[in-house]
């Protein structure tokens, strides 16, 4: 399973690689990283159907996570990948907007990786 992680924080890559070191080692999961919404779109356009799951931050400079979500859900990408939103703002408004735009799940920072792992395994 190929998972695209979108966040403007570069350390997210290290964190995910550490957290999913077993899964990566066992080839259960493969992670790709994009550090902005724009970068994520470019990757998705270039690598159709590769990523089945997208984990995106909401608050990013430039294109926000929600805009990226709308792009993914409204255009291209058939079948649409699972998109999980991750944000520091776990408020209802953010949640509702994300859900309205077609987000599959909504996670709050700091991330509970155990919870995330459960969810990812459920999708698989």
């Amino acid at each position: 399973m190929k998972i695209l992680v979108v966040d403007d924080e570069h350390d997210v890559q290290v964190l995910f690689e550490q957290r999913f070191r077993k899964e990566i080692r066992d080839k259960e999961m493969e992670f790709v990283f994009a550090f902005s919404g724009e970068e994520a779109l470019i990757y998705l356009n270039q690598n159709q159907h590769e990523a089945v799951l997208i984990l995106s931050d909401i608050n990013m400079p430039g294109m926000s996570g929600l805009e990226l979500l709308r792009h993914i859900k409204e255009k291209h990408h058939e079948p649409p990948p699972v998109v999980m939103m991750i944000t520091a703002y776990g408020d209802k408004e953010n949640y509702d907007t994300a859900m309205r735009l077609g987000a599959d799940d909504f996670l709050a920072k700091p991330l509970e990786f155990n919870v995330l792992k459960e969810k990812l395994k459920a999708i698989k």
Partner: protein, 681 residues
């Protein structure tokens, strides 16, 4: 100013008789007679001779009379001499001295005990009645004349009337006639010619009663000359010139016959003026020269009618009329000099008199004692009134002061309230910008926390794994894990510090400025606040989006500023820029086809000894009409409740306090650039 013709003539019954006698024999009689009533009578004879001829000589004989009266202790005689003296002094213009004599005479005449004096023959006309009352009439009459000389119309009429009244009581015709005569003149002065004519006719009638027994015919004729002159004056006032001239000529004859030189002088003056007015050269010159000749024999006279200056003037006018310019010129000079010096004398005399009349009036308030009591009362009243006024003033001042004090307190309170409100507003502005920050900060802090938590968890997992590997004896594998742990630990430390910095920054922002300048990396500061502002806005408004572009001059290094203050300015400018950037210009975007990309540029640049921090947006720009208001406190274009209107105002003050400038460049429809200009040192 036209001179008022009003010098009174005082004629005494002795005049005609005196004139009949030869003066030398009169003087001889005075020298030879023994001291007493007869010597007084002899002195009177010489005095009456000189009375209207020469004032200095007349004055000499009044002094003689006074000495005789003093030696003989005859108060009535002294009173009569004093009144005669006052007349001569008056004629010389010495009004103050004249009044003093009259004051003494009044004291004598009002004292009934003086009636016990030995009866003397005080006047040339025989009188058997009350001598004291005759003296009183004489004194009132003289006082009235003094009032006339000093131009007090009201007082002169009053005292002439009193004099006439007393004379009637004692039936002394010469005084009755004189009272009428002078009242006529006074009423003429009062511009009542009809009343004047009445009194002059009374005077004429009284004269007709003369029967040589107690009023000699000769004396009656002497008065008649003056009455006739007054009649002439009255007819002149009634514009009857022929009657006027007729009476003047009659007067001229009578006064010449009786050798009343004072009256003669006055009649000549009238006639010369009459002829000058009518251009009759010969007559004018004749009477003016005659007047002058008489005036010269009377001595230097400062009366307002028997006046040497006036005499010269008439001569000058007459010569001018005759085209004799040499003589005219000579007399013009004399007239000017004499009039001038006599006017000065007269003013001085009148001034002295004024001083004296003031005390005389107080005397007339009655007895000295009453006066003192009265004055004391007046003083007390004045004192009380003064105290009252002072109290009132004090109360007014006190009230005023209290009101001012109250007003001052009110103003101070209002000022304090205002200051407090201002402080609150400044604080709320800080809080507002803090609110903008909080969302950004929350996001910013969650990110590092995310790493701290998760890397810690990863590390504890890794430590477990490392232990397993060590137990298995896989040293190499354990070493690799240990390296990962170390790497993660660095991340934990880094993000922990990051969170710490964010919290500190937040605290610094909410705190009042420390006011301490410290070397600060302006680029880092600008970048930090740019991120905070961006995230803050994104957190508040999900749809918000804008492009951020930065261009930092890495050569700036650190500059000495108060970081939280300048940070606040940068935050404010960036927040404004983010607010403005997406807004359409007035009238909308020119080409709706081209998508407007809201952009904010933050750049720094070192120029000479200055650092420029620019915050630019591509918003609608600031309209020219409000451009000069944007730095004013409480000015805002944001909807009510959304902006305090203090952001730019505070920013301006902060930059100024740093010795810098906050400038704005804007172009409508294209955007705005705010430039913070700070000194490097």
């Amino acid at each position: 100013m036209r001179l008022i013709f009003k010098m009174a003539l005082f004629l005494l019954p002795a005049l005609a008789e005196a004139q009949l006698s030869h003066v030398d024999s009169l003087k001889a009689a005075f020298e030879n007679v023994t001291d007493g009533p007869l010597k007084f009578k002899a002195a009177s004879n010489v005095y009456f001779y000189y009375q209207e001829l020469n004032r200095d000589s007349a004055l000499f004989y009044t002094e003689q009379q006074l000495m005789i009266a003093g030696r003989q202790h005859n108060k009535i005689a002294e009173g009569v001499a004093l009144v005669s003296k006052s007349y001569q002094l008056m004629g010389l213009g010495r009004y103050a001295e004249s009044l003093k004599c009259l004051q003494q005479a009044f004291v004598i005449a009002e004292d009934k005990s003086n009636e016990k004096n030995e009866r003397w023959d005080y006047f040339l006309t025989r009188f058997d009645g009350n001598s004291r009352l005759l003296l009183l009439s004489y004194t009132h009459h003289m006082y009235a004349l003094l009032m006339l000389s000093t131009e007090n119309l009201e007082q002169q009429i009053l005292h002439f009337k009193i004099a006439g009244q007393i004379a009637k009581e004692i039936n002394y015709l010469p005084r009755i006639q004189l009272a009428y005569l002078n009242l006529g003149q006074s009423y003429l002065d009062a511009k009542m010619p009809d009343s004047a004519l009445y009194f002059e006719k009374q005077a004429e009638q009284t004269a007709l009663q003369a029967d040589d027994k107690n009023f000699t015919v000769a004396l009656a004729r002497a008065y008649l000359g003056t009455v006739q002159m007054h009649m002439g004056d009255i007819y002149k006032a009634l514009s009857n010139d022929s009657m006027s001239l007729n009476y003047y000529y009659r007067s001229l004859q009578t006064t010449t016959a009786n050798n009343n030189r004072t009256s003669l002088s006055r009649v000549c003056l009238r006639l010369s003026k009459y002829y000058i007015e009518r251009g009759n050269k010969d007559s004018a010159l004749y009477y003016s020269l005659k007047n002058l000749a008489i005036l010269k024999t009377l001595g230097l006279v400062a009366g307002n009618e028997t006046n040497l200056g006036l005499g010269y003037e008439n001569v000058y006018l007459s010569y001018k009329l005759n085209n004799q310019f040499d003589s005219a010129f000579k007399y013009q000079g004399l007239a000017l000099v004499t009039k001038d010096s006599l006017a000065n004398v007269r003013i001085k005399n009148l001034a002295e008199f004024q001083k004296l009349t003031y005390s005389e009036q107080l005397r007339l308030q009655n007895v000295e004692k009453e006066k003192v009591v009265y004055q004391d009362k007046v003083r007390t009243y004045f004192l009380l009134a003064g105290i009252g006024v002072l109290l009132l003033l004090a109360i007014i001042f006190y009230r005023n002061n209290r009101q001012k004090h109250k007003a001052k307190i009110k103003i101070e309170q209002a000022y304090d309230n205002l200051k407090a409100t201002q402080q609150q507003l400044i604080q709320s502005e800080k809080m507002a910008s803090l609110g903008e920050l909080t969302a950004g900060i929350a996001h910013e802090i969650q990110n590092p926390l995310n790493f701290v938590n998760n890397f810690s968890e990863v590390n504890s997992e890794l430590i477990g794994e490392m232990k397993d590997e060590l137990a298995k004896g896989n040293i190499d594998e354990a070493k690799t894990i240990a390296n990962d742990i170390d790497e993660n630990e660095q991340k934990i430390i880094f993000h922990g510090k990051r969170a710490d910095a964010i919290v500190k920054g937040m605290l610094q922002h909410s705190r009042s400025s420390s006011g301490v300048k410290e070397p600060t990396d302006i680029n880092a500061l600008a970048d930090e606040y740019l991120r905070l502002a961006y995230h803050g806005l994104r957190a508040k408004d999900k749809s918000f989006n804008a492009t951020m572009k930065t261009d930092f001059d890495e050569s700036i290094g650190k500059i000495n500023i108060i970081p939280q203050d300048i940070g606040r300015v940068i935050l404010n400018l960036i927040t404004n820029a983010f607010y403005a950037a997406p807004l359409p210009p007035e009238g909308g975007f020119k080409n709706p086809q081209i998508k407007h990309e809201p952009t904010v540029w933050v750049s720094t640049k070192k120029v000479g000894d200055k650092v420029l921090i620019s915050v630019r947006d591509n918003g609608p720009g600031i309209p020219q009409k409000i451009l000069d208001k944007i730095f004013q406190p409480f000015f805002t274009t944001k909807p009510t409740g959304q902006g305090t209107g203090l952001g730019l105002s505070l920013s301006y003050d902060i930059v100024k306090a740093h010795g810098g400038e906050l400038k704005v460049e804007t172009k409508e429809g294209e955007g705005t650039t705010f430039i913070i200009q700070l000194p490097v040192n």
